[in-house]
Symmetry: C2
Subunit: 268 residues, 2 copies
């Protein structure tokens, strides 16, 4: 599965994920706080970008973070150690074949994971099995179809679509954010609440212009330049024009919009 991860595993990508988490921490994570002594499973922790935030916001919780990639787990371990947290256990494990007893965890947390899986509903069912009754499932996902900007650009929209199509051909779904409500509901979670987390960026917010529009979103689209061209989804000039137009939205009269979705459900 690790080869299908659309963003790849190179060091620059790891930096981008860290940049992303740092910029969006408040927006996405500030309302996720687990009580002391509770067992929390973070599934698909990747390089630990969100793990550090989880550990910081819930210093008394006992966090187990897993990822299918041994390389990512090693990076996540270094990130957690560098941040000085001792309440995180890191472990290589597959969401579809979890090495835990049923009802082992009080809470389960997933961030930017389901979008990469061909069978997100089965992943949720597998995770539900290790979640205690009455425990919570929290899922955060983006939705690339929520992207729009000023000045508008067909080239930029097409460059984004390359990423959506590559993710789809790897079995994922870059438009999964809008579908979290039915996904949690259909996998048997109760009292499902979804809240959108819209990132609105104009030049009055220079930190978001740099940290989100440029370093997170446009860098992510730029990251698929090679596979997008190699797979015939676009031409070099068209893709480069799209990237140029995305950067154009970061100028003084530009605007950029993107929405993440956060869902919380309960296991009954």
């Amino acid at each position: 599965m690790s080869n299908d991860y659309v963003h790849g595993y190179d060091p620059r990508e790891a930096v981008r994920l860290q940049d992303q988490a740092t910029t969006l921490v408040q927006l996405l994570h500030s309302d996720t706080v687990y009580p002391p002594a509770r067992n929390v499973l973070e599934a698909g922790c990747g390089v630990g970008a969100q793990t550090v935030t989880l550990a910081r916001n819930s210093p008394g919780a006992l966090i187990t973070s897993i990822d299918v990639s041994e390389t990512s787990i090693a990076q996540a371990r270094r990130a957690v150690q560098a941040a000085g947290f001792t309440n995180v256990t890191l472990q290589q494990a597959d969401i579809f074949d979890l090495p835990f007893e049923p009802e082992s965890f009080d809470h389960v947390f997933l961030c930017f994971v389901l979008e990469h899986l061909a069978r997100p509903a089965e992943a949720l069912k597998s995770l539900k099995r290790v979640l205690k009754r009455g425990g919570s499932m929290t899922v955060i996902e983006g939705d690339h179809g929520s992207t729009y900007f000023h000045p508008d650009s067909e080239y930029a929209q097409r460059a984004i679509r390359c990423l959506v199509e590559l993710q789809a051909s790897a079995g994922g779904n870059a438009l999964i954010g809008r579908a979290l409500y039915p996904l949690l509901r259909d996998t048997g979670f109760d009292d499902v609440r979804v809240s959108p987390r819209m990132v609105y960026v104009d030049s009055s917010k220079p930190d978001l212009v740099e940290g989100f529009t440029k370093k997170t979103f446009t860098a992510m689209v730029e990251g698929v330049r090679k596979p997008a061209i190699e797979n015939g989804l676009t031409s070099e000039p068209d893709f480069d024009r799209g990237i140029k137009d995305l950067y154009r939205t970061t100028e003084i009269d530009g605007v950029f919009c993107y929405t993440f979705f956060k869902a919380v459900g309960k296991r009954v």
Copy 2:
């Protein structure tokens, strides 16, 4: 100009605008409160859907509401009288030829107006002239390009695009919400702050399913069926399939997203 107003002036449309305002009142208007004895100009009040909310939220303010259409002003007058407000003066007037002295108003308020104008920047400049120095300009607009939903549907997206194209050929811009920041900035307003007001609807929110997705948004798209077909923008079966797919998003596993933008700037 009144013939170009894309939604038309029929009674059903007036009801839809009222439905819309009632459902979205909190989201769009709760943070607009003008102090007692201040002179407020509401430009392009239409049938008075927002006028009543303005008068309710700022009972001590002296509100002057204008519209280019004498018919709309008459309807707005009835709406204001029916609601029992006495702090509103209604008057037929053209935004581009305002019958007021320079710096007559402490505040100016505009809601769902600029999207219908061919020269929104000139409208803002004209309104700025009658606004006192230090006074505020508040603008609320939608953005039909912010619409996405689950299940996704190319037909539904194309039906929405018919409305966008009809509005464009009437000289308007249905994607203006995202551009409010540069628009206010470029017309010389200071300290411009834009906040998105996203409407997220799933079946856990039955009031929004009815009041927004069905009665406001889908009804608005349905309203352009005839001109869209007559102008060759779509075929009957395609458009009807699009509307059916929009209603599909109101079922138990459906999700619907739309974003309004609210901008506030200061005249220096």
